[in-house]
């Protein structure tokens, strides 16, 4: 069996999840705390990838990051060349595509933590950053776990965006879903079967783990 697409997929999903935690956590925090009137507009923009066809996202990213787009101009100016059909471009595209799956669970978790524990922490001498890391993040842990699992799994499962912006370059952009498509196109059903079964098993295990973890947390809090 050809393991290259598997490792590439895991690497892509891992990096995308890490990037999304860095970018998504501040967005989720801002959404949970702000009274700004643009809050709902920002929420809607973050949620767009849920409803848009992946080809639309891929198309716009291709134009944006391409040699004549504003994103492409910046990357060329920085000496990075253009990102479409590279692994780095794929990470950025995946991050855009999976953003709502990371932001929304963390946003909900921060909202359910509420203001009170942060006020308590303030009266106990904790400043804003201290409150965020020692109270808000630990109390929102279930949301972070959901966000990581969903962000990772959703990136593993993407296809349309990858095809639009990544193409099918072995070792660079040829991830699992593209490899399966490729095998089917060339009538290699046996190889397609193996990879598809792996994906199916992986997806089931991820979701099972998520529900078990949420069930345990709910059970622990239920006893209070």
């Amino acid at each position: 069996m050809d393991w290259q697409p598997v490792w590439l997929t895991l690497k892509l999903a891992g990096l995308t999840t890490a990037l999304l935690l860095l970018v998504g956590t501040p967005i989720a925090w801002w959404l949970a705390r702000t009274t700004c009137r643009f809050k709902h507009a920002v929420s809607a923009i973050v949620a767009l990838p849920i409803v848009l066809p992946p080809t639309v996202i891929g198309f716009y990213l291709l134009v944006f990051l391409g040699p004549h787009g504003p994103g492409g101009a910046i990357t060329q100016w920085l000496g990075l060349g253009t990102l479409p059909f590279t692994f780095a471009g794929l990470v950025i595209a995946s991050a855009v595509y999976s953003l709502p799956f990371v932001v929304q669970p963390i946003h909900n978790a921060f909202e359910s933590v509420g203001k009170r524990p942060l006020e308590v922490a303030a009266t106990l001498g904790a400043g804003p950053w201290d409150r965020f890391f020692s109270v808000a993040v630990p109390l929102a842990r279930p949301g972070f776990i959901s966000a990581m699992v969903l962000g990772f799994a959703h990136t593993v499962g993407e296809f349309g965006v990858v095809l639009m912006i990544g193409g099918n370059i072995p070792g660079e952009t040829r991830v699992l879903s593209v490899a399966i498509y490729d095998h089917v196109e060339t009538l290699e059903y046996g190889k397609a079967h193996i990879l598809s079964a792996c994906m199916l098993g992986f997806a089931f295990l991820v979701l099972l783990g998520l529900y078990l973890a949420n069930g345990r947390i709910a059970g622990r809090e239920g006893r209070a």
Binding site: P117, E119, V120, T123, L124, G125, A126, D130, L139, A224
Partner: protein, 364 residues
């Protein structure tokens, strides 16, 4: 030293406008109905709410609108106990206690961890998770957690209101000791007269965001013209001390400030300790001479100071029990208008105040 507070705020239909100088010692009760602004005022003192105005703690400026000074809550040396204990669910009891303790610079730590744990009876709870504690236990942890920041001002927002009767009764003695042992000022928000009677040295009464009464607790609580302690049975609050216990009759002998001795149902505190008692006006009746053959235990001579006709057919009478060294004790008595007329009572007359012993009950 005083705590100088000037706050103005507009929150929808509610407005707060208070200007006060609070004593920087003892317990100040912020008393009033819900919606009177007492919690908003406490939160503003803590820096959790940003009202226009100023706040001076002694000569330290904590807030001054004109100078653009506003210390956020974490910069103020306060302890805050919320209505619900609000313990951190992700930390053990011990870690909750250490949260504020560790963030207090070593040079400023004056409150000892072990002593506080022992004092509030938390020794067996330290390794537990807050979710497995009872309401009373949680509130004790919250009080200890606030004290362990070695605050210079302790703010308490109805710390008993979320507790049931038994838990309230269990935690009250701790608050009374807090009152006796703590050298820092405490501002205590409540709507319960009982808590005010037992704990307060100074009272601020709020209504619709304005101060309607302010002064030393004993005089405000026993003020004839302020049945204001709103809708509650009027009564006098007296600081007495326990002389001795009579276990055979389940009684305690109490000495009033003027030296008079009265009998009360057996109190839990040790002989020699000070107690506050509340004598509701309905428990005090008046006769012209010392009655004979009565079951009433406490009959004391007193002079009528003042009277007020409140409810139809009833008169509220203020009596002064004169004692040694010019120390007097004031009582309130509620009698019928009919008795007032029939006995020919008037200001200045010396009469016998009859206090039913049960009327001296701790809870009033």
């Amino acid at each position: 030293m005083t705590i100088d507070v000037q706050f103005r705020a507009q929150r929808g239909a509610f407005s707060l406008d208070v200007g006060l100088k609070l004593p920087a010692r003892g317990v100040t009760a912020l008393f009033g109905h819900s919606g009177s602004g007492k919690t908003t005022m406490l939160r503003a003192m803590a820096g959790l709410e940003h009202c226009a105005g100023s706040m001076l703690f002694g000569d330290e400026i904590w807030q001054d609108h004109a100078q653009g000074v506003f210390l956020t809550a974490e910069k103020r040396p306060i302890g805050y106990v919320f209505q619900e204990a609000s313990l951190f669910g992700h930390l053990s009891v011990q870690d909750n206690l250490e949260f504020g303790f560790r963030r207090t610079p070593v040079s400023k730590r004056r409150v000892d961890m072990l002593e506080t744990v022992e004092w509030l009876g938390l020794g067996d709870l330290l390794q537990r998770s807050p979710v497995n504690l009872s309401g009373g236990e949680r509130q004790r942890v919250a009080i200890a957690r606030a004290l362990l920041t070695s605050p210079e001002l302790l703010l308490m927002d109805e710390p008993l209101s979320a507790l049931d009767g038994a838990a309230k009764a269990a935690i009250m003695p701790y608050l009374e000791r807090l009152h006796a042992e703590l050298s820092i000022p405490v501002v205590y928000v409540t709507h319960a007269v009982e808590e005010v009677s037992r704990l307060a040295d100074h009272i601020v009464q709020l209504e619709a965001g304005r101060v309607v009464a302010e002064g030393p607790a004993l005089s405000i609580l026993s003020d004839l013209h302020r049945p204001a302690m709103a809708g509650e049975e009027p009564g006098a609050v007296i600081e007495a001390s326990i002389r001795e216990h009579d276990d055979a009759h389940h009684l305690s002998e109490l000495v009033l400030p003027g030296g008079q001795v009265v009998l009360a149902p057996r109190l839990a505190a040790d002989a020699g300790s000070p107690v506050r008692i509340r004598i509701p006006a309905r428990e005090v009746s008046i006769s012209l001479r010392v009655p004979e053959g009565t079951s009433i235990l406490n009959i004391l001579p007193g002079r009528i100071l003042d009277h007020e006709e409140g409810d139809p057919g009833r008169v509220l009478v203020q009596l002064e029990l004169e004692g040694k060294k010019g120390k007097s004790t004031r009582l309130l008595s509620r009698i019928s208008r009919y008795s007032w007329d029939r006995l020919g009572l008037r200001e200045g007359m010396v009469v016998q105040a009859q206090i039913k012993s049960m009327g001296l009950a701790h809870e009033g």
